[in-house]
Symmetry: C2
Subunit: 197 residues, 2 copies
Amino acid sequence: MPKIEFWCDLASPYSHLSAMRIDTLAAARDIAVDWHPFLLGPIFAEQGFKTSPFNLYPAKGAYLWRDLERLSARERAGFRRPEPFPQNSILAARVALALDAADRGRFIQGVFRVQFCDGQKIDDKAALGVLLDALSLPRTALEAAQSDAVKARLRAETDEAKARGIFGAPFFVTSDRELFWGNDRLVEALDWAIGRY
Amino acid sequence: MPKIEFWCDLASPYSHLSAMRIDTLAAARDIAVDWHPFLLGPIFAEQGFKTSPFNLYPAKGAYLWRDLERLSARERAGFRRPEPFPQNSILAARVALALDAADRGRFIQGVFRVQFCDGQKIDDKAALGVLLDALSLPRTALEAAQSDAVKARLRAETDEAKARGIFGAPFFVTSDRELFWGNDRLVEALDWAIGRY
């Protein structure tokens, strides 16, 4: 079965739009999705960015918020601009990695939904506990998320992202190591994975 | 007849990919294309960029060159990486503005083709003269390009781009002032222009 890696920061609004769509689009092509939460912060910092480029460049920011509104309306997704933006995604990413790989995608989709549709903060342990309950996922993941092993794993994933040449989110990576950047490229990445690009 | 504005810097490789496709895609929707060459350099400079972000961020550059190769192969366009990159596009943009509006698109498409398919430099007066001849366009545009009126017009177009919130290329702008950024958004912009987004 062909595979696609989905690399995302859990505070990334365009990753939200891809996370909503990837299951159906991948299933239609018999492609398995391998979810890779990582942190964009350290990668942006190496590029000299102290915050999201959305915040650094006003014209880019104005465009991107309008674009997200437009795209979300088209996908009937609802959209709220998180306050503050970007949210601190480190705890949510650790919880995602503490879960079984089979449950990871469902949890990540939930984190995006509460953040970008319901306007909830995602750095709050209690709120993530409620989300785990709602998804019938084990609350023990909240404790495991604080373990040295999981913390090291998130650092390793972020290092791996950097080593692959990932500099934003979302990124899709095929088995032959082709990179596709951005929600706009989701379908192309999936088509590449089955030799139909 | 609905209209779309196509804002491009004549050294922008993703603008090349859109310029190749826009005539057919717009005609299929009965949309008129209004070509707006401008200069990205002054806009990048205001963002603090001294050259193209392709050059400033190595991971982004590596990704984008590979992406252009992949997209060009898919469009059967041929692709050569200009040397140096970016080319100085000021003379070509002035010549484009010196031509009749009806001829502007054809000339811009020619500039992109010789630059990204044939590997020619575009800051060379003789080469642009050959291109004008090949397209049966008046060579007088080369002299007109040096006039104060045309120089002022290019500055005004660049100021207008900035005022509209344009921060990269290509940008597509609909009659109701919606902005769409990037070659990936060409079809969406055209669909928006006819109320089919």
